[in-house]
């Protein structure tokens, strides 16, 4: 029974094993980045960046069809261009980061949909938007795992300046010149992980695996290490359960995974020990008499 429900699909079908591995790689790489997005109040920036990637992927698709390399490179270039352009506008003009980013990603998104519709049907667009986690080939898996490893490595190197850049940017600027480097390297990490995520889950769902587990983790831990561990655990569990649901009930896998992550977020919101609704409702004594 339990075997049938949980292990059979992975034992019998290679594509399920590949899907799981791909999801674990995306979870390990993207979720810690999502934690920092959340801590910097930039969760929606992740969403904007995901849209920004679209025209690059679309041009890659236009040039080379459903080619892993072309779509990856295109997505990276488009994402980085939007990140740099909006960062530049923010630093030299009075426009705030949210507004400049919104401007650039909307332009980028419109361009992406336009380019995408120039060739082929909307089915192709659906592939880019919602991903093909059940059809990951060797090359795609190697790409996802490499990006996850690279992302973790860079995050480890960048950890201290990134924490300071989030918590006390003024101080970081006063003691070191790393502030700008840190900011843009972090944005690059967001882009790289979204590009990796869109191969598995699509551009829209990739943000989900980045942001939802991070938001859920906030209710389970109060320090950064704990947040990262909790978020990665939520992401991997959501992937596993989502894939199984999609297998047993013939649901589209990307949305299934993200919905499970959404349920995990809802449960954390209510039952989480640090600031969850139940804990807030319980009366707490400050002084025992």
């Amino acid at each position: 029974m339990i075997w049938d429900a949980i292990f059979q699909p992975f034992a019998d079908f290679g594509f399920m094993r590949r899907a799981l591995l791909g999801c674990i790689a995306v979870s390990a790489g993207a979720t810690p980045v999502g934690i920092f997005l959340m801590l910097r109040r930039m969760s929606l920036t992740g969403d904007a960046m995901a849209h920004a990637i679209l025209p690059g992927a679309a041009i890659g698709y236009l040039v080379a069809g459903l080619s892993l390399g072309a779509m990856t490179i295109g997505g990276l270039i488009a994402g980085m261009a939007v990140a740099l352009a909006s960062g530049f506008v923010t630093r030299v003009t009075a426009l705030r980061e949210d507004a400049s980013l919104a401007a650039f990603y909307l332009i980028s998104l419109a361009l992406g949909v336009l380019i995408d519709s120039m060739r082929g049907s909307n089915v192709d667009l659906m592939h880019v938007l919602f991903g093909t986690v059940l059809a990951l080939d060797d090359a795609a898996l190697i790409l996802l795992c490499s990006i996850a490893s690279l992302s973790l490595l860079v995050l480890a190197l960048l950890f201290r300046p990134l924490v300071l850049e989030c918590a006390d940017p003024q101080f970081l600027r006063s003691v070191s010149k790393l502030s700008t480097v840190t900011h843009f390297t972090f944005l690059a990490l967001v882009v790289v992980n979204l590009v990796s995520g869109f191969h598995a889950l699509g551009t829209l769902m990739a943000v989900g695996i980045m942001v939802l587990p991070a938001a859920a983790a906030r209710f389970w831990s109060a320090d950064i290490g704990g947040l990262i561990i909790a978020a990665v655990a939520v992401a991997i569990l959501s992937s596993l359960i989502g894939l199984l649901l999609s297998y047993h009930y013939s649901l589209p896998s990307g949305p299934a995974i993200i919905l499970v992550a959404g349920i995990a977020y809802g449960l954390s919101l209510v039952f989480g020990p640090t600031g969850g609704l139940v804990m807030q409702a319980l009366p707490r004594r400050h002084l025992e008499i």
């Binding site: 006390d168 003024q170 006063s174």
Partner: protein, 187 residues
């Protein structure tokens, strides 16, 4: 600006309103330890010896026992103590303080003035912006009186004369409209 022989490493600045994100999951000891940045940079290890110095700085501002508190749970005074502890570790020649005792309770202020006096005794320069003239008279040996322009400077008792204060107050009188350069009426 010319800093003479001072470099970035020699100057520490405590802004009036620091833009520290108080909701960020950092503890007091995490924040204070970053005062060691010029030594440890982005990768350096905080070993036993440095950890002892961090603890000593926390003790010097009277926050022993609060090491693992998240910064979000600190009161305004405790936060200011934490930031002073970080300044202590920065070990700089010139400390710039912008209104460091604003909205701070009297005991915290007394403790932090003790820290400022200690810096002074160690031969460091502390340049503080203050509006409370009593504090200036009691604790700061040299004063620059600024009100739109330099009114006076020198040893505090010579600079903060009744006459200079009167001139400063006149300069501070409210001007209507947007900030502008005031003309000097023939006095």
């Amino acid at each position: 600006m010319a800093f003479g022989s001072l470099s970035r490493k020699d100057i520490a600045y405590l802004p009036q309103q620091s833009d520290i994100d108080r909701t960020f999951p950092l503890s007091v000891v995490d924040l204070v330890a970053m005062g060691l940045w010029s030594e440890i940079g982005p990768f350096g290890r905080i070993g036993k010896e440095r950890r002892a110095r961090v603890d000593a700085a926390i003790a010097a501002v009277g926050l022993t026992g609060f090491e693992s508190r998240p910064i979000g749970s600190l009161s305004g005074g405790q936060m200011q103590r934490t930031l002073f502890a970080r300044l202590l570790l920065q070990d700089v020649r010139l400390v710039l303080l912008d209104e460091p005792f604003n909205a701070i309770d009297a005991r915290t202020m007394a403790d932090l003035i003790g820290v400022v006096r200690r810096w002074h005794g160690e031969g460091r320069t502390v340049l503080a912006v203050l509006h409370d003239l009593e504090t200036v008279r009691a604790h700061f040996p040299d004063t620059l009186v600024l009100a739109r322009e330099l009114i006076a400077h020198g040893p505090t008792e010579l600079a903060l004369t009744a006459e200079n204060q009167f001139r400063a107050r006149q300069m501070c009188e409210a001007c209507a409209g947007p900030p502008h350069v005031c003309g000097r009426s023939a006095a």
